[in-house]
């Protein structure tokens, strides 16, 4: 899976050069609703709840600390 994931990211990086917008076309992308996580605490609480109740966690990034809830 490691090799597969790195391969995907490499292919995406190569293919990414044909995508994108000009600086003056970022109006919609800059809206709060268009952020990866538009509501910080929605995501924070969800991560905490599901970390406590499921065997899987993580994926969105690193950091944030641990707890004894799992």
């Amino acid at each position: 899976m490691k090799l597969f994931s790195i391969l995907i990211i490499a292919v995406l990086l190569a293919g990414c050069s044909s995508m994108g917008v000009e600086p003056w076309e970022r109006d919609l992308l800059a809206k709060p609703s268009m952020q990866p996580v538009p509501n910080y605490f929605d995501n924070f609480y969800d991560e905490h709840i599901y970390f406590s109740k499921e065997a899987s966690s993580g994926g969105q990034g690193v950091g944030g600390g641990g707890c004894g809830c799992n």
């Binding site: 990211i9 970022r26 268009m34 538009p38 709840i49 499921e54 994926g59």
Partner: protein
Amino acid sequence: MQLKKISSSLSVASCTLLQVSNPAAQTNDWNIDSSFLVYSESDGRVSAFEPAVRSEIDLGDDEFINFQVVVDALTGATPNGAHKSTVAQTFTNPSGNGTYTVAPGEFPLSQTFRDTRVAITGEWDKPINRLSSVLLGASVSSEVDYTSLGLSATYEHDFNNKNTTLATGLALTSDLIFPIGGVPLGLNPMRRGGSDQQRVGSDDTKTTVDFMVGVTQIVNRKTFFQINYTYGTSSGYQNDYNNVLTVLDPTTNQPLVGGWLDANDLPYLFEQRPDSRTRNILFFRGVHHLTEDVINVSYRLFTDDWGINSHTLDFRYRYQLTSKQYLQPHIRYYTQTKADFYRHDLVQGTDIDNAGKVNVQYASSDYRLGAFDSTTLGLSYGINITRNSEFTIRGEMMQQKIDNSEVPRPGEETPDLTALIFQMGYSFVW
């Protein structure tokens, strides 16, 4: 809730290419984000009340510092790992002093507990140059039987006219576990309350390292996506010290009586998990702007060397009621396979010989390591009260459906779980 700046956030690879920078700014504004969560499980199980506040200071030139404080007040009862039986079952409290008895046919839950956790985190988001930045984080979390310390660093670099961001991050978490009453010896019997509990120390440790690499790509004016790969390892004490497994007498189908158990042994063995775990996670998120509404969808593939494979699909549709108000339905679906060492119980004569020697290296009956599906449905409402303040409210219901297909006898099934989630938040610039 993002106000003036699209902030990076804990546990989320931020995405500088979506930010609108203002290089000359020196604002010193404080973005305050406050929220509280009420979480309540059915059948008198866990309830949590969790207020939190996060303040982000805008230092100008795209540099930010943020601090967060979360208090997590928990109460309720949790499954102790034993399964239902046709006879009454008596267990010892974690401290080793008291006991509690579960009636025949009842699902064994540990006695009501209370715990309060306090977690403090801080982050420093520092641009290095026009195309790259670093996010440094530190965290501390403390509760009655657990302390966690964490450090993290994420580096981001923009390419392709700032349409592509490559992020890479490393996090180290060091945990100290102080089981109430001492550390029980895995795969050894729970002892009667008040007798010698035969604990093997007062504390133990766990270390977790996570490494992530990811890419965020703007596709066009209305669409971007994000793909992350995370490799994580944990080593050290990974047991839930409150969890036991039933030792089953196959002739009576009831917890073992007598045999190799001595007078102070109960027919329940403390669980034992491997002391290392390796995780591989692939995460995808896509965000698309319709005419006014926004679709935010994510998928996570998780696999580890404990045998757990899971899929998580998350879908949010932000329906813009007016320019200042929105409704957001949310659907989340999760499914996982069981860990290789997940066991319904340990059978006398097969898993344990007549002298009490346990023939398995690892075993746990924690239902969270078993196979189950979980579905969450929710709805959020948000309103911008002023230009720089927002109020949000959210209600959700989570349902875990446990896979009992391998339970050998009817009546011993692990019950499904329903939980209600209510959250309210207010954010403003100060």
